[in-house]
Symmetry: C2
Subunit: 184 residues, 2 copies
DNA sequence: AAACTCATGTAATAGGTTACATGATTCA
DNA sequence: TGAATCATGTAACCTATTACATGAGTTT
């Protein structure tokens, strides 16, 4: 697996213009955390490496400035474009929820149901957040003007669609497992 | 994040009885790869550590036997049970597909569509495989007798439901992006 | 005899997380 | 003035991946 933080940084700088590491992290947290996450401990070293390899550069080379704002260079833009057309790497699935569920006959039914309920509540919360952003997006003339509009909307709908499907599954599964348990 | 390979091993040995590292890997690949994956390079060291900490033990302590079959110990079963009732750890999302899509205005439309088509084809294949297993499961008296039956069925349905939702999204999204592009 | 599957492992590396440290700036 | 937020970074650690190495047994 390649270092994807690097490409995430290049992409964000390319789309949103000059930003600091702190800004990039903030943007991830508030706007794309439903499909992408970064943390400082990895982000800052990657920024240093991107700078020293010339893929990004500081806006003001003044060493005294505390806040380091970066922009993407031509070289960085070329590297980003090359990555974008490469096939999406296969990501081996790892779902702790399904792993635990598959060991369900080593658990009490009530513990399984509690686990499912907890996960469902988490997903409901995420769903509500995405739905709000979606409503905003659909109504905002400002958002529609941005070149990334259709892509961000599509990504948002992926999140919403997946969450809807999972919420339906949680309800069905809880009923299924309760019924099954009763009829044993 | 905790070492989940360890718990996966304990769970599999607990459910399926004595197995070798090779068996566990084979089982992951053929039966649960849609939600769990392991690789040898991690699995074998974890097996060694589990053995030396007494959570699993060799079936035959004969050093000459090449094939090392392990079973779970009482101590291991206790550790497994404790993990099963712990809350599922939050897993930060990282979808390369959605990341690339969100940088869509740095790509050609045809490249985006090709990327989506490729991912869709992959998901269709997975969907067909899961659907076949599901059919087998629903029809097999043998499968129904096993205590893990309802849980494996539920997990299977999670995979199927998610894939269905994603396939629908791929179709909708390709049309949406093409229409949007045409009307610009 | 060659090819394939069974079977176990190690070493190097990458990729990312957690915890810690530090100090400036802004706001109540 | 104290708290919160802004802002950057490092060190230790862990988890997992990749590549490599080895050899037995089985099938074609």
């Amino acid at each position: 697996m390649k270092n994807k933080t690097m490409y995430a940084v290049l992409g964000v700088l390319s789309l949103l213009g000059p930003m600091s590491g702190y800004d990039i992290k903030k943007f991830c947290d508030k706007s794309i955390s439903y499909f992408w996450n970064e943390n400082f401990g990895h982000l800052y070293p990657v920024l240093s490496r991107l700078e020293s390899s010339g893929l990004i550069a500081r806006d003001s080379p003044d060493e005294a400035v505390r806040r380091k704002s970066y922009h993407i260079t031509d070289k960085g833009a070329a590297v980003l474009r090359a990555w974008l057309v490469e096939p999406v790497e296969y990501q081996p699935e790892r779902s702790e929820l399904l792993l635990k569920l598959s060991f369900g006959n080593r658990m009490e039914l009530e513990d399984i149901l509690a686990m499912l309920e907890e996960a469902k509540v988490r997903n409901e919360l995420k769903y509500k957040q995405l739905d709000q952003i979606h409503s905003y997006y659909m109504g905002s003339e400002d958002a529609k003007k941005k070149p990334q509009y259709p892509f961000w909307l599509a990504a948002l709908r992926y999140g919403i669609t997946s969450l809807e499907a999972s919420l339906k599954w949680f309800d069905e599964t809880k009923i299924f497992l309760m019924d099954y348990h009763k009829n044993q």
